[in-house]
Symmetry: C2
Subunit: 328 residues, 2 copies
């Protein structure tokens, strides 16, 4: 929650609120979408949800989120048509419909904003926004980081690609679901910022893991390496918040057998999007590409469901070494 948003705006509107919060049609009530929609509901937003999966619909109903019988019906009366879907293909298909079925663009009411919070290809995000604008709507991409924990707590970070006026219009809704909302530029640039961040994150996690494995082989303790690097020029979030060895950072997934956290499958997905962007732009990012390859291999095995910091085990295996006995 952000400053100025009371715990229960249904009972007490924010003092600086001149207009009521926009209503939201929420398409995609999965692990992320469901708690995001629940936070909107709790904040007094008129939200109507829809998901293709009956289990997700039941979970939404159990949390008191009104649901519709179709995506189109969820969108029909909404000021904001919010999508939280697995891929760009899903988003564009939901917007356009597929063959017989109508799409969200056919169902939304005039003046609606299409707000896509999915993490998808930049070009697809721009294409989705173009489709919405061609149909007379406004559009924004606003991918998130922070995971399921952040979605439940309302502490997500949103990276928004939209015109200034559209950003201003969607911001109050995003601030209910997140703690940090950054306007990155025009359509697609929310996606761009997210993949830039996650490419750096992947590379730095592998670098930290390589250094820990080297330290183990050299007889340098995890704690000594952490004590030096965490206060020196090698400091990075991958070390000081998501430390890939147990001990130095008690809250890191390494202390709970790499339960995510941020799952390897999701990192591999994001790095696939980064690789697409590198290919489309011709940028020679050798470390980014190598990290993408490593996480693709990681996610094809048991890494898919582990925290991405478990990549250190792959580096140990490749190095023919065992976890240091100082662990655990």
């Amino acid at each position: 929650m952000t400053t100025g948003t009371p715990e229960n705006p249904a009972e007490q509107l924010p003092p600086d609120s001149e207009t009521p919060l926009p209503s939201v049609g929420f398409i995609g009530l999965g692990n992320m979408g469901l708690p995001m929609a629940a936070n909107l509901k709790a904040a007094g937003v008129a939200v109507t949800g829809y998901d293709l999966m009956p289990a997700a619909m039941a979970a939404a109903a159990a949390r008191g989120i009104p649901t519709a019988e179709s995506a189109q019906q969820a969108a029909a009366e909404a000021d904001i048509v919010l999508t939280m879907l697995p891929s760009g293909k899903h988003v564009i298909s939901a917007y356009q419909g597929d063959g017989a079925a109508e799409g969200l663009l056919d169902a939304a009411r005039p003046g609606a904003i299409f707000l896509d919070c999915s993490t998808i290809n930049i070009l697809e995000a721009q294409q989705a926004a173009d489709l919405a604008r061609a149909a007379g709507f406004r559009a924004a991409d606003a991918p998130v980081s922070g995971g399921v924990v952040g979605a439940e707590a309302g502490t997500l970070a949103f990276m928004v690609g939209a015109e200034e006026e559209v950003f201003t219009a969607v911001r109050p809704i995003l601030e209910i679901m997140g703690a940090r909302v950054v306007h990155c530029g025009g359509s697609g640039l929310g996606q761009a910022a997210k993949i830039c961040n996650n490419m750096i994150l992947a590379v730095s996690m592998i670098a930290v893991s390589e250094a820990f494995v080297l330290a183990e082989k050299l007889g340098l303790s995890h704690q000594a390496m952490f004590d030096v690097v965490s206060k020196a020029s090698g400091q990075c979030w991958a070390l000081t918040t998501n430390c890939p060895v147990p001990g130095p950072v008690p809250s890191s997934p390494a202390n709970r057998e790499y339960q995510p956290g941020f799952a390897g499958a999701l990192m591999a997905k994001d790095l696939g999007l980064a690789t697409n962007a590198l290919e489309e732009t011709g940028v020679q990012a050798q470390l980014g590409r190598m990290a993408a390859e490593m996480y693709r291999g990681f996610a094809e095995g048991e890494g898919a469901g582990q925290d991405f910091s478990a990549i250190i085990e792959q580096i140990r295996t490749a190095s023919g070494t065992q976890p240091s006995s100082q662990e655990g």
Copy 2:
């Protein structure tokens, strides 16, 4: 300077000081060694310096540092024989002498501590310490980070490999020259901690640079990328302190045409040491090795004298792109 060390201990000894500061024979008065020796002198340490280069000897005399006519003479009366030399070969040669000339091990007085602050191969650091111990002396490796600026300001970080008792004995001297002194373990582990840190630093600087070049190609502004990543999981020192593009971090070398800072040649040297350690241990650090290759190529060109963050220009060149017009 650390807490408890007065501005001028020659006039006022630290209140918690039970014994006088040990005397130091300081071998190697280069860009780093000279200001380090000057800080010892200013703190009231009896320091005697020596360097093979006449210009360095003249510079030392100009700063009021007593000099000797040989390394052996500088070491003869010292409690601590401190070396600050370019490579492990130099350190071992200085310890042992070469052919006709005697070495420091022949000249030092009983009970002396051999304190090597050079950044050298781990195996050579261990070999140097073994030589000192075999000759009846105590030994420590204590490579530094913080560069010439840190050496002048007395804000270096020392990573110390030594037995506990030796660490305790050299600590007061190191605390005069540095702001942070970390005991990393036994002989060689100071070197180990430094190369682990610098391997992470090199990889994260390249990752940040790759992400900025991608951002440029995608139309995402430097400031927007910085605003997102600096507060997100991609945060790292390479971005938030040594940002490779001008603007977001005014103190970073990118704002002064990549004047170092930390020169490419020094990063390439440290990564050479890291590569040696990877080969000796069999650790498969793919990103670390690729970063070492990139910095080796960088330092063979004009990167040698530029800050290591100028690697971003190499990535732009490889990507066939120009610095974004938002710079400068």
